[in-house]
């Protein structure tokens, strides 16, 4: 609080000053200069962290919002922009980018190949370069967790079908290894030609009890998901998804990294990065937490009585911790 004397003085000051028109002109000029100067200063502000989103999906917005909130709370200047607006950002000062999704990474690469960046992706992307200022945060869950989810939902499900293209061959191979470990008969159906998708899908759902979706955009995308879910539903076979959005669409369950978990993990990595003299300590980081989503309506329609989410979570954890 200012003292009453100073307050009184401050109130009297403008009145005295504005008595002369010259003074009024001077005030106007000073105000204009201040305004211009403020804009100029604003343009020079260097944001320490710029979050770049690939698209306007709920998942990406939630991750961005979480990181933004965490960093601002910790006093780090942060801004969030869409990938297509990246060229409008200032390159003055020391800026760390956080890209969410591959499109944002690609746009940043086009804009400033040398920038420091934490790239958040749903899986490891081939051809990436890693330096002490370029690292990845992978949000995909460990492959075995999908198998454990199936085991936890219904131990009697042993025949699991997986559709896989070249792009998800590694993941399919990893799932196969997990399936052997956990006594699940996993059958991989290779999609070599997109036009064979529906026919192969029919075969997969006909010959298995469950269809496990892998994170492969060539097979599972917002256009193909309709046919996949409808076909599986027609055969009264459940689909296990890999995201909450997939479950809302009609898969019966998924184990995935929630956007809040991904955001918190990214914040941890960034804090470590700042503490470590603006250097990442690893090339690839991963998320630890797991979230489980269940579509009770679809499960009920398929006459499946699924255990509760907490029960599934503890079952997965228990199996993971088992020797």
């Amino acid at each position: 609080m200012l003292s009453p004397r100073i307050q009184s003085g401050l109130r009297a000051l403008p009145e005295q000053f504005l008595r002369s028109w010259k003074r009024r002109t001077a005030v106007f000029a000073i105000l204009m200069a201040l305004l211009y100067g403020h804009s100029a200063i604003q343009a020079e502000i260097t944001y320490h962290v710029v979050i770049v989103t690939s698209s306007d999906t709920g998942y990406q917005k939630s991750i961005a919002s979480r990181i933004h909130t965490n960093l601002e709370g910790a006093g780090t200047r942060t801004m969030t922009i869409a990938a297509d607006d990246i060229a409008s950002t200032s390159r003055n000062g020391k800026t760390l980018y956080v890209t969410i999704g591959n499109y944002a990474t690609q746009k940043l690469n086009d804009f400033d190949r040398a920038s420091m960046v934490l790239r958040i992706s749903d899986r490891v992307q081939p051809g990436r370069t890693y330096t002490s200022t370029k690292a990845d945060l992978i949000t995909a869950q460990p492959d075995c967790r999908h198998i454990l989810l199936i085991r936890s939902l219904n131990p009697e499900w042993t025949a699991v079908g997986v559709l896989s293209s070249v792009g998800s061959a590694d993941e399919a191979a990893a799932l196969t290894r997990c399936a052997i470990r956990y006594n699940v008969n996993l059958q991989v159906y290779a999609i070599t030609d997109k036009s064979d998708l529906l026919k192969t899908l029919e075969t997969a759902v006909r010959n298995n009890e469950v269809l496990l979706a892998v994170n492969d955009p060539d097979i599972f995308n917002r256009h193909s998901v309709k046919n996949i879910l409808l076909t599986a539903y027609r055969h009264r076979k459940p689909v296990i998804g890999y995201s909450d959005s997939f479950v809302q669409a009609g898969a019966i369950a998924a184990v995935y990294t929630s956007p809040d978990s991904a955001g918190d993990r990214a914040t941890e990595i960034l804090s470590e990065f700042f503490r470590n003299s603006w250097q990442f300590s690893r090339k690839i980081y991963r998320t630890d937490n797991l979230s489980i989503s269940v579509n009770k309506q679809v499960a009920a329609s398929l006459d499946l009585d699924l255990p509760g989410v907490e029960s599934v979570r503890s079952s997965i954890t228990r199996m993971e911790e088992a020797p």
Binding site: E156, V225, S243
Partner: protein
């Protein structure tokens, strides 16, 4: 500028495609569209408050059926009949459940994707001109028993809900041709595609045959030729909102001939009756969150029947020997329209509670100079409020409550409640105890129909006698007609065995029907030229239907499936103000019936199916021979076979199948010559070749 346009367009397309590919790389970050919304989900039999049977796409294809009623025979308690129409109007393919039905099968609701298609004037559905191609059907759900709380009014004895395939499920070209005896020639062409978030499908189809053969030989005058174009567009506005637009336009030409009632005064000539039907259907599925969603739908049905004819000469000499024979010029054409707007809200406050409520308004309008004499028009507005609450008390106990409150013009407010308690012994075995009530609102013709014939008569010398006019009220309306009522109680069991490869559904039930509407020929107000006798609809009868139904579905191996069903029925009626009517009700369904469908894929190339049906004798309500102890259809059995060969020609898939139907004895499933058990027409062997070509 113009010359650069193609290159510019190409560049834009490349950019769009490239951008799409780049974005598509983040599969798990994508907002997937809601595909299996609550509105589209099928109720699992173990969680259903009423008995539900489902005929899926595989069964429809394996059966080789050309029409929907053929596959409905697989449902326990359902009977299908081919009426040649003894009133000389168009022949109808009739589907009924638990008897009580004439050719208009009024006690059953039929919906396509939730759009009610029963005809406002006379009730029932003309399955020959139903606005859907059988190849576009995903599945057919049949609710056995009343379920007005879910499906709205007239969901009385049963509900048939036909669900079509999402437009995205049939990409590319599809063509099918059936050619066989009975002049069978059916053709279907469908194209499905997509553009961004829009999926679309257009189907053109025609169904043609020369109907049935007379018992004494020769073809009956009941040829059917129909053509239809129908389309469906599914537009994914965003991941949570789907807009579906469907429409159709079809025309059906049917032969008609009065064959059965030689003693009837008014003889209708052999002629052709033309039907034109069309519909428009808009539906918005919106998912607000995992806890709630809503559906708004509007549809418009239009039907126009063209039937103008001059009767064969009527001889009045029995009344007055000096009068000349005369004819009547009759315009039995009519048009009907239905507008319906409905809002349904699904709420799931937690895993154990599921609540649905909704409102709907319906406007029916019919124009007919003949059936609605003298005004020529009638309309009716109906308002409905419905709700359904499912409470999973725990893993063993479920309570399901539903109610429909309905107010139609001309009837009092009706309330149709339903309650069901389900006990789940475990995941595989459920017992259901249910009770429900429903009403059937009288159709417009029943409520306000009036038919009047008149002619100026001449004497033998050709002179006009002003005193000799022919005036006849065929139908007179009954202003106080009430709704029909049904109260149903049932005990059901649903079980799954052999790792859920075999499901068994059975129920015992008792349906009490009251205020049943019939049209006795009774005295009314006479005039100097009218004898005062006319058909008048009235609520006169009550019946009780008791029975047992059983259905099992066994997937023996992934390539072999066995589906079987059966029904035991007893209909009784002790309320008989008019001689013989109680007996007619009691004889209106077979005491025993069962069906079996077996399908097998021998390998990727060859597949086959066989179906067998057995029905005890019965008499349809408008075809009872009036001979105690005689039911005119007799006992009949049906055996159908289908054998298919698949070919793969690059991306194209071709299949050829031979379908053989009615391989056992000839049978009659509807009419008999008046006052005799002798059939007029028979169902005899049918053979056709089915060719299908699919190009993606």
């Amino acid at each position: 500028m113009t010359e650069h346009f193609p290159r510019t367009l190409f560049a834009i397309l490349v950019l769009l495609v490239t951008a799409g590919q780049a974005c598509a790389a983040d599969a798990s970050y994508t907002d997937m569209p809601v595909v299996l919304s609550q509105d589209t989900l099928e109720k699992a039999p173990s969680r259903s408050p009423v008995a539900i049977s489902s005929v899926d796409r595989d069964m429809i294809e394996a059966s080789g059926a050309r029409t929907i009623p053929e596959v409905l025979r697989l449902i326990p308690g359902i009977v299908v009949g081919h009426s040649v129409n003894d009133f000389g109007d168009k022949p109808l393919l009739v589907v009924a459940y638990h008897g009580h039905s004439d050719q208009f099968s009024k006690q059953m609701n039929v919906l396509i994707d939730g759009r009610s298609i029963y005809e406002p004037l006379l009730g029932g559905v003309n399955w020959y001109n139903i606005p859907i191609a059988i190849d576009d059907i995903e599945r057919i759900e049949v609710t056995r028993g009343p379920n007005a709380a879910t499906f709205g009014s007239n969901s009385f004895q049963a509900v048939i809900n036909i669900i079509t395939r999402h437009a995205s499920e049939d990409p590319g070209h599809f063509a099918k041709v059936n050619v066989g005896n009975h002049d069978i020639f059916d053709a279907t062409y469908r194209y499905g595609g997509n553009s961004g978030d829009l999926d679309y499908r257009v189907t053109l189809s025609t169904v043609n045959d020369n109907g049935q053969d007379r018992d004494e030989g020769g073809n009956a005058n009941d040829d059917v030729n129909s053509g239809l174009i129908d389309y469906r567009l599914d537009y994914q506005i965003n991941p949570k909102n789907l807009l579906t637009y469907q429409g159709s336009f079809g025309r059906t030409r049917q032969q008609a001939e009065q064959t059965l009632r030689p003693e009837t005064e008014i003889k209708k000539p052999q002629r052709e009756i033309n039907d034109t039907n069309a519909h428009q259907f808009l539906r918005l599925n919106s998912t607000v969150s995992s806890e709630q969603s809503f559906v708004v739908k509007y549809f418009f049905n239009y039907l126009e029947e063209e039937d103008v004819y001059t009767t064969l000469p009527i001889d009045p000499s029995a009344v007055d020997p000096i009068l000349d024979p005369f004819v009547l010029d009759i315009d039995a054409s009519y048009t009907s329209q239905r507008h319906n707007l409905e809002f349904t809200h699904f709420i799931n406050p937690d895993d154990a509670l599921h609540f649905v409520w909704g409102l709907s308004g319906q406007y029916d309008k019919v124009d007919s100079a003949r059936y609605l004499y003298p005004t020529g028009t009638s309309s009716r507005t109906t308002a409905r409020l419905f709700g359904n609450l499912v409470w999973d008390i725990n893993s063993h106990n479920t309570l399901d409550l539903g109610v429909l409150v309905e107010k139609s013009e001309g009837t009092k407010t009706d309330v149709s409640p339903r309650i069901a308690y389900l006990y789940h012994f475990n995941d595989n075995h459920t017992v259901r105890l249910g009770a429900s009530q429903a009403v059937r609102t009288p159709f417009i013709f029943e409520q306000s129909g009036q038919v009047f014939d008149s002619a100026v008569l001449t004497a033998l010398d050709g002179a006009i006698d002003p005193a000799a006019t022919f005036e006849n009220f065929v139908y007179v309306p009954e202003n106080q007609l009430m709704t029909e009522k049904i109260t149903s109680i049932e005990l059901g069991y649903y079980g799954q065995y052999l790792q859920r490869k075999l499901s068994l559904s059975t129920r015992i039930f008792q349906d009490m029907l009251d205020e049943l509407i019939t049209d006795p020929f009774v005295p009314t107000i006479a005039t100097p030229d009218f004898d005062g006798l006319a058909f008048i609809f009235d609520n006169l009868h009550a019946t009780t239907v008791t029975g047992l139904e059983i259905e099992f579905d066994y997937t023996v191996t992934p390539s072999t499936r066995l589906f079987a069903s059966g029904a035991l029925l007893d209909i009784s009626s002790d309320d008989d103000p008019y001689v013989g009517k109680s007996r007619e009700y009691e004889e209106s369904a077979p005491d025993k019936s069962f069906s079996v469908l077996a399908t097998h894929d021998f390998n990727a190339k060859y597949s086959g199916s066989a179906s067998f049906f057995y029905y005890d004798d019965m008499s349809w309500m408008d075809a009872n021979p009036d001979i105690p102890g005689i039911r005119n259809t007799g006992i009949y059995r049906i055996l159908n076979l289908r054998f298919a060969r698949n070919f793969k020609l690059g991306d194209e898939r071709l299949s050829a199948a031979v379908v053989l139907q009615n391989l056992l004895d000839d049978y009659s499933d509807y009419d008999a010559i008046q006052n005799t058990p002798e059939p007029v027409v028979v169902q005899n062997p049918v053979a056709y070749l089915e060719l299908k070509l699919k190009i993606r």
